[in-house]
Amino acid sequence: DARVTQTPRDKVTEMGQEVTMRCQPILGHNTVFWYRQTMKQGLELLAYFRNRAPLDDSGMPKDRFSAEMPDATLATLKIQPSEPRDSAVYFCASGRGETQYFGPGTRLLVL
């Protein structure tokens, strides 16, 4: 049963620290998405890759966030420096065709 995996599942850090979240998309999927979910804003798209190339990262604060796909089996989302307002659940999703499959999320708390 193929699944999107994300690590870590939970992260507590202090303001100013670097945070790196990792995602392993489902093998064979050629699109990868990063979303952020908060109570206030709901689900927001941060970045979107197709065949490892970034297609849209307009939803991402550029000064502190960065997203990469060093290879087809790994996507990363980094926050440096982290701030309390970054506290949220970060989801990775992958797809091939119309449907997106979500990972379990990384719950981030920045103190």
């Binding site: 709901g42 689900l43 091939r96 065709g97 119309e98």
Partner: protein, 114 residues
């Protein structure tokens, strides 16, 4: 950008009841998906349905693209149906497929009581 409105925001049902969730969108779309987020936070894709009708067990969905709405029907609800149901749409065709920037609605929170 496209606006997505879901109604009702909250819904409480007795087990066994039927329900209809609605999603209105403000512009033409070529991708519409329904998701269920369970109480543990996991997001599950229910339907890809930019138009027409689909059924999967007790769930079915209909999208009337010309009138810019979609409906999700849940029949004979069970406690395991509890959670938040999201509608998400995109109007952006990428080369090689219909994946695009999905815009999510705020969701309908469903609570099914035993």
């Amino acid at each position: 950008g496209i606006q997505v409105e879901q109604s009702p925001p909250d819904l409480i049902l007795q087990e066994g009841a039927n329900s209809t969730l609605r999603c209105n969108f403000s512009d033409s779309v070529n991708n519409l998906q329904w998701f269920h987020q369970n109480p543990w936070g996991q997001l599950i894709n229910l339907f890809y349905i930019p138009s027409g009708t689909k059924q999967n067990g007790r769930l079915s969905a209909t999208t009337v693209a010309t009138e810019r709405y979609s409906l999700l029907y849940i029949s004979s609800s069970q406690t395991t149906d509890s959670g938040v149901y999201f509608c998400a749409v995109a109007a952006y065709f990428n080369y090689g497929g219909s994946q695009g920037n999905l815009i999510f609605g705020k969701g309908t929170k469903l609570s099914v009581k035993p």
